[in-house]
C-alpha cells in the first residue's frame, strides 16, 4: 500500500482555540484515492481544506502532507481563477511552481510547460476557448479551467472545494469524469468537498461527513 500523502491526526481545526469548528480530526489520504467530505454549510469543511492547504494553521494536532513544495493543488469554492484573464493564462499559471526562476521573471514559460498547458486545455475540451476571458465562460467551463490548471501543476494532493456546486447533472458528470481521470491516470490523491451526499457516494472511494464538530466516515 502506498504511503499516505496526507496525514491528519488528533487535529483541531478552526479560528479560535476556545471554539474549534472541528475536533479530533483523523484522516489519511493515499495517492489515487478520492475522498469526499459532506456536511451542511458553515460547519468547517472549507476551513479544513484551507488548513490542509497551509493557508491557516491547525489549532492543535498534526496536519502534514509529505509532498514537495508546489505539489498541493487547491481549487477554492469560487475556483480562484483570474477572471479578467484568458483561459490560456489561467491554465499556464499552474506551471509556475515547476517553472525555472528565470522563466517566471521574464514571463516566458518554456516549450515543455506550454505544451503541458496545451494538452491540459485539450483534455478538458476547451481548445477553442484558449483566448476567451474567464468572465465569458459558463460555470461548467470555468470549473474545467480550474481542473486544467491543476493538471498542469501536476500536484500529488488536490483539494477541491465545492467544485461541483451549482452545476446541472450532465455538466457535473463531466467534471466528475475529469476528477476521476486525475486520480486514476495521474495518481493524484483528491480531497473533495461536495454538498450533495448522494452524488459524493457515487464517485468517491470514501466519504466523510461532518457531524457537529466531528469528522466521521460514512458507511457505504
Amino acid at each position: 500500500m502506498p504511503e499516505p500523502i496526507l496525514r491528519i491526526s488528533a487535529a483541531e481545526i478552526g479560528f479560535e482555540k476556545q471554539e474549534p469548528l472541528l475536533e479530533e480530526v483523523e484522516l489519511e489520504l493515499r495517492p489515487g484515492e478520492i475522498v469526499g467530505i459532506i456536511g451542511r454549510s458553515g460547519i468547517g469543511k472549507t476551513t479544513l481544506l484551507r488548513t490542509i492547504a497551509g493557508l491557516i494553521p491547525a489549532l492543535s494536532g498534526t496536519v502534514e502532507a509529505p509532498v514537495a513544495k508546489g505539489e498541493i493543488g487547491y481549487i477554492p469554492q469560487r475556483l480562484g481563477l483570474i477572471t479578467h484573464q484568458s483561459v490560456g493564462y489561467n491554465v499556464i499559471m499552474g506551471a509556475l511552481p515547476r517553472a525555472p526562476l528565470w522563466q517566471t521573471i521574464i514571463s516566458m514559460p518554456g516549450g515543455e510547460l506550454r505544451e503541458s498547458a496545451r494538452e491540459a486545455i485539450q483534455a478538458v475540451g476547451l481548445s477553442d476557448k484558449v483566448l476567451d476571458p474567464i468572465s465569458q465562460l459558463s460555470g461548467g467551463q470555468q470549473r474545467r479551467v480550474a481542473i486544467a490548471r491543476s493538471m498542469v501543476q501536476q500536484p500529488r494532493l488536490l483539494l477541491a472545494d465545492e467544485c461541483l456546486g451549482e452545476l446541472d447533472a450532465e455538466t457535473a458528470k463531466e467534471i466528475i469524469d475529469l476528477i476521476q481521470s486525475l486520480a486514476a491516470e495521474r495518481n493524484i490523491g483528491i480531497l473533495i468537498v461536495d454538498h450533495n451526499p448522494v452524488r459524493a457516494r457515487t464517485f468517491c472511494d470514501r466519504v466523510l461527513q461532518v457531524r457537529g464538530t466531528r469528522l466521521e466516515e460514512v458507511e457505504r
Partner: protein, 297 residues
C-alpha cells in the same frame, strides 16, 4: 408664535445660528470685512478692463522666450499656449509613466494581502511621506535643486505620482478576491509571484483606470507647477500675470487651459469607461498578453 416657542419646536435653529456666529467671529479675526470686499470689487473692475478682450495671439504668434527649445517652423506650434501645453502634457506623460513604474512594486509591497505586516506598514509610511507635500512644493524644491525648467517639473510630478498612485494601487490590490491568491499560495508560490501573476492581472482594470486618471490629474497640476518655474504652460501664465502684467494674454491662456482640461477630462473618462467593471460586464484587461503561447494560440 414667540421666538422661545419656535426654538423649542425647532432646536436646530440654535445650532445653525451658532455656526453662523462662529463664522462671523472667525471672519472678523481674519480681517475679512465689507470694506475689503468692496475694495476687491473695485480691483476686479480694473482687472477685468485689463483682461478683456483676451489676446489670442498667444495661440498664433511664436513665443519670444521659451524654457525648452521649440524647433517647429509653424509659428502657432511654437506659440506660448501650444508650446506650453505640449510641454505640460510631456511632463505629465513622463511623470505618469515613471510614477506608475515605480509605484507598482511599492503598492504590491504596501498591500496587506500580499506582504508581511512590517513591510506593508513601512511602505505605506513611505508613500504617505511622498504625499505630505503637494506637487507644487515638490516643484519648488526641485527648481532649487535642478534650476527652473521641465526637469524640475518631471521630478516633482513623478514623486507626487508615486505617493498618490501608490495609495490608489494598493487599495485596488487589497480589493482583489482572496480566492485566486489562496489558490496561488496553496501551490507554494513565493509572495512576488502571487502578486505579479495573480493579484496584478486581477486588479489590472482598476490599475489602468487609475493610471489614466493620474495622467489627467498630472496635466491639470502641470499647469500649476509652472507657476514656480517648473516648466509647462503655467510658466507662461505666471510671466503674463507677474513680470509682464499682460492680463489679456493671461486670460487667453486660462481659456486655453480650461478648454484643454475639459477635452482631456472627456477623453480620459471615455477611456476609463472601457476598463470599468459592472455587474453585467467584466471587460477584458488590456494588459499585454504576457505569455507568447497564448498570443499565438
Amino acid at each position: 408664535m414667540s421666538i422661545i416657542q419656535l426654538l423649542k419646536k425647532r432646536p436646530r435653529i440654535l445650532i445653525y445660528a451658532g455656526i453662523l456666529l462662529l463664522a462671523l467671529l472667525i471672519a472678523t479675526r481674519l480681517g475679512i470685512n465689507l470694506h475689503n470686499l468692496q475694495r476687491a470689487w473695485e480691483n476686479a473692475g480694473v482687472l477685468w478692463a485689463e483682461m478683456f478682450p483676451p489676446d489670442f495671439s498667444v495661440i498664433t504668434e511664436r513665443a519670444q522666450w521659451t524654457q525648452s527649445e521649440c524647433t517647429w517652423s509653424a509659428d502657432w506650434a511654437c506659440s506660448p499656449a501650444v508650446h506650453g501645453l505640449t510641454e505640460t502634457a510631456q511632463i505629465a506623460f513622463l511623470a505618469t509613466v515613471g510614477g506608475m513604474l515605480l509605484s507598482l512594486p511599492l503598492s504590491m509591497m504596501a498591500a496587506h494581502n500580499l506582504s508581511p505586516l512590517w513591510l506593508s506598514t513601512l511602505t505605506r509610511q513611505f508613500l504617505a511621506g511622498l504625499r505630505v507635500l503637494p506637487s507644487l512644493v515638490w516643484a519648488l524644491i526641485f527648481v532649487i535643486l535642478f534650476g527652473p525648467g521641465p526637469l524640475a517639473g518631471v521630478m516633482a510630478m513623478t514623486l507626487y505620482t508615486i505617493g498618490y498612485l501608490g495609495k490608489l494601487q494598493y487599495e485596488a490590490l487589497e480589493g482583489v478576491s482572496r480566492h485566486p491568491l489562496e489558490a496561488a499560495r496553496a501551490m507554494g508560490l513565493p509572495r512576488w509571484q502571487v502578486a505579479r501573476y495573480f493579484a496584478l492581472p486581477e486588479a489590472s482594470n482598476a490599475l489602468l483606470s487609475q493610471m489614466l486618471f493620474m495622467f489627467e490629474y498630472n496635466i491639470r497640476h502641470g499647469s500649476i507647477i509652472g507657476l514656480v518655474g517648473a516648466g509647462g504652460i503655467g510658466w507662461y501664465l505666471s510671466n503674463y500675470l507677474g513680470t509682464f502684467a499682460r492680463y489679456d494674454r493671461a486670460f487667453a491662456m486660462i481659456i486655453v487651459i480650461y478648454i484643454a482640461v475639459v477635452i482631456i477630462d472627456q477623453i480620459s473618462l471615455a477611456l476609463r469607461h472601457r476598463f470599468m467593471d459592472s455587474e453585467v460586464h467584466a471587460p477584458r484587461a488590456r494588459w499585454r498578453e504576457i505569455i507568447p503561447f497564448i498570443a499565438r494560440r
